[in-house]
């Protein structure tokens, strides 16, 4: 893929440490519109931490974030949302005691002119978007704690997609899903990509990476091992990057 022009997102030289341990150590990655970049590495390699600097959950100690070539300040999740960055967290980040609609609109409720939350409009919108994502979804009036893993995932994905995201962060979106639901997420990623969104995908399954991603950035011990174009390497190459922390000679 020819990535020319300004990247949608550039994370430049990002560092963050917790109690003296460098969780992310001078990492630079970028993302272009209509592209899926996989973030790979062992557990504890720093993928989730890096991405949380972009989603506003953490504030980086050093480095800068550029959106469309312009430096932006992201110090909390609201800032990230204002930049049209949406995140599907590994934990899903749902309030278990609220229903699907309340979770979907959490922090961005639709209110009536009187300033009261408009539950029926929000439920109607939720029904619309979930019908598209997961036609089997029925349980609109129960707390999400009563939903299956796949249904909960649908709610989390719906929340990220509904608000016209330009940049989507997906932290292991298929970890809790069955084969059919995994296929559904794969199709959704293709569709969103075609719409011109940029997607950061944290993924452990190497087959999914080969199938869904355009480029892959591999991290180890908080540092970036390298970034490769997925169609120029084999899955063994990527695995050796993850395990050995070495970039394959031919892709360099």
């Amino acid at each position: 893929m020819a990535n020319t022009g300004t990247p949608l997102v550039e994370l430049r030289d990002i560092s963050i440490s917790f109690g003296g341990i460098k969780a992310v150590d001078h990492v630079t990655v970028d993302l272009y519109p209509g592209e899926v970049v996989g973030l790979l590495g062992h557990n504890g390699a720093g993928k989730s931490t890096l991405i949380k600097c972009l989603s506003g959950a953490y504030k980086a100690d050093g480095g800068e974030i550029l959106i469309n070539g312009e430096k932006v300040e992201i110090s909390n999740p609201r800032d990230a949302r204002a930049q049209n960055i949406e995140t599907i967290y590994q934990t899903l980040a749902l309030a278990d005691n609220l229903d699907a609609a309340s979770n979907l609109f959490l922090g961005r409720e639709i209110v009536s002119p009187m300033g009261f939350v408009d539950d029926s409009t929000m439920e109607a919108e939720t029904r619309k978007i979930l019908k598209r994502l997961n036609p089997n979804f029925r349980k609109f009036n129960v707390p999400v704690s009563a939903l299956s893993g796949g249904q909960r995932q649908s709610v989390a994905i719906a929340r990220a997609v509904y608000f016209n995201a330009k940049i989507l962060i997906m932290d292991e979106p298929t970890a809790a899903l069955g084969p059919q639901e995994t296929q559904m997420v794969a199709e959704l990623i293709q569709e969103l990509k075609a719409q011109g969104l940029g997607i950061f995908l944290i993924e452990h399954d190497i087959h999914n990476v080969m199938k869904l991603c355009d480029r892959a950035s591999v991290m180890k011990n908080g540092q970036l091992v390298g970034t490769v174009n997925v169609n120029e390497v084999t899955d063994e190459d990527i695995l050796s990057m993850i395990i050995l922390g070495k970039k394959p000679a031919k892709a360099a």
Binding site: P77, R81, T87, L94, A95, L98, S120, E123, A124
Partner: protein
């Protein structure tokens, strides 16, 4: 709430029918089964206390005489409503505090200190400035009471939310500190009497709205209920959501209005005592014949409770703030990731609790027409117990305002019932209320397991 007939026959007649019918009925009316259980328990307590004198007379070889019962009388139920009001008002705030996984042990002491400040203000500081009985005294006093309550709550909330001190510790400290302050404020003196207009806020014969006023309140409540049912239905139709069957809507409306109207009849059936009628006649210069029937009607603190209950219900279910309170209780981390300023919400919840404690202090001091440093002692425990009996989960994330008010009613029914049947020396009351608290939570745990 005082109606003992309308909600039960339909519900209690059901268990004899096949189980499918109950389920269908509950499903169609969308009645919360927990609410039903609580109302059932309350009625059981009421009937039990009412029958106790008759039964104990039979045990002693006397005749079975229902007339001996004195619990289900207009007089007792009216008094019960006034006693419930200030605990109920605080319990509505405690629900929010517990939902966000905090606790407030200081509310009783806040009553003590704000009550003393208001007492001193209206009895010793304002009269020399404005003149005794000046009409502004009660307003200034009440506002100062509310503001002091908010300030204490906000201070606690700041320590909890922005300094990370556990709410249990902050408010346990508050419990001791504010009680000490209440004593020091007047070196332990009792301040009395309160301003005449201020005293009306505590209920009592003059602190009521009378028969006509009660009918107006009841009529407005019925209209409000019907409006809610109709607008809810049209909202559902607008979005093509499943609707309740018409008979279920009519049933809910009829039961609701029935309860409201029975409550009006009840408070209007409790007349002023002879002495009060004579005093009133003398004051107004009327000549009222012997035995004139003047109804109490709803007491002002009860109307305050109803007002607070409605406002808090709207706040929790219809505003963003309420939604955030639930979200924080359900998953604090998710709330932060959704961009909610959880610290600010926490501070506001604890401040609101302080304001409600201030309002409760107004009612308590007005009701006893004096301010003492012991006002509100142990009330924090009754308030927490009311919220928990009302179905608020101590794990956070769930609870309702109406549940907390019903919980307060259950506790005060036990308390006043024990007094009526001659176990009023306090020790028995405490034993019964304590047992009820543990039992209620245990039943709730069983219920939740069964539902899962």
């Amino acid at each position: 709430m005082t109606d003992t007939n309308s909600p039960t026959p339909s519900a209690s007649a059901m268990p004899d029918a096949q189980p499918g019918a109950i389920t269908r009925f509950l499903h169609a009316t969308e009645i919360d089964t927990r609410l039903l259980g609580m109302v059932g328990a309350l009625l059981l307590i009421w009937v039990g206390f009412h029958l106790y004198p008759a039964i104990s007379s039979v045990m002693r070889g006397g005749a079975f005489d229902l007339g001996l019962g004195n619990f289900l009388t207009p007089r007792n139920l009216w008094n019960l409503s006034v006693q419930t009001s200030y605990i109920g008002i605080m319990a509505t705030g405690m629900v929010l505090v517990i939902i966000i996984r905090c606790i407030d042990l200081s509310v009783g002491s806040i009553i003590g200190v704000t009550g003393m400040i208001m007492g001193l203000l209206q009895a010793e500081y304002l009269p020399p400035l404005l003149g005794l009985g000046h009409p502004a005294i009660w307003i200034i006093t009440a506002i100062v009471g509310l503001v002091v309550g908010v300030m204490i709550g906000a201070f606690h909330g700041w320590l909890i939310a922005y300094r990370g001190i556990p709410s249990f510790i902050v408010t346990l400290g508050g419990l001791l500190i504010w009680r000490g302050m209440a004593f020091l404020s007047a070196s332990g003196r009792t301040i009395a009497p309160m301003d005449e207009k201020f005293a009306l806020l505590g209920g009592g014969p003059y602190g009521t709205v009378g028969a006509v006023g009660s009918w107006i309140v009841g009529g407005l409540a019925c209209l409000g209920l019907i409006y809610l049912l109709i607008s809810g239905r049209s909202q559902r139709r607008k979005h093509d959501f499943p609707q309740r069957p018409v008979w279920a809507e009519v049933f809910l409306g009829a039961v609701g209005c029935g309860v409201i109207l029975c409550a009006v009849l009840l408070v209007n059936a409790y007349p002023w005592a002879k002495g009060i009628v004579a005093q009133y006649a003398e004051r107004t210069g009327q000549t009222l014949p012997e035995g004139t029937f003047i109804s109490h009607g709803f007491a002002i603190p009860v109307l305050l409770l109803i007002g607070v209950g409605i406002a808090m219900t709207i706040l929790m279910t219809r505003t963003r703030f309420g939604r955030y309170v639930f979200a924080i209780g359900g998953n604090p981390e998710a709330a932060v990731l959704a961009g909610i300023n959880t610290r600010w919400v926490t501070l506001k919840v604890v401040s609101l609790m302080g304001a409600l404690a201030g309002l409760a202090a107004i009612i308590v001091s007005a009701r006893q027409n004096s301010a003492t440093n012991a006002m509100g002692e142990l009330d924090e425990l009754y308030v927490i117990a009311a919220a928990v009996i009302g179905g608020t989960s101590l794990a956070g994330g769930s609870g309702t305002v109406y549940g907390a008010i019903l919980g307060a009613l259950v506790i005060l029914s036990l308390q006043s019932g024990m007094v009526l049947i001659g176990f009023g020396d306090g020790s028995y009351q405490k034993i019964v209320v304590g047992t009820a608290l543990v039992l209620a939570v245990y039943l709730d745990i069983l219920y939740r397991k069964k539902v899962k």
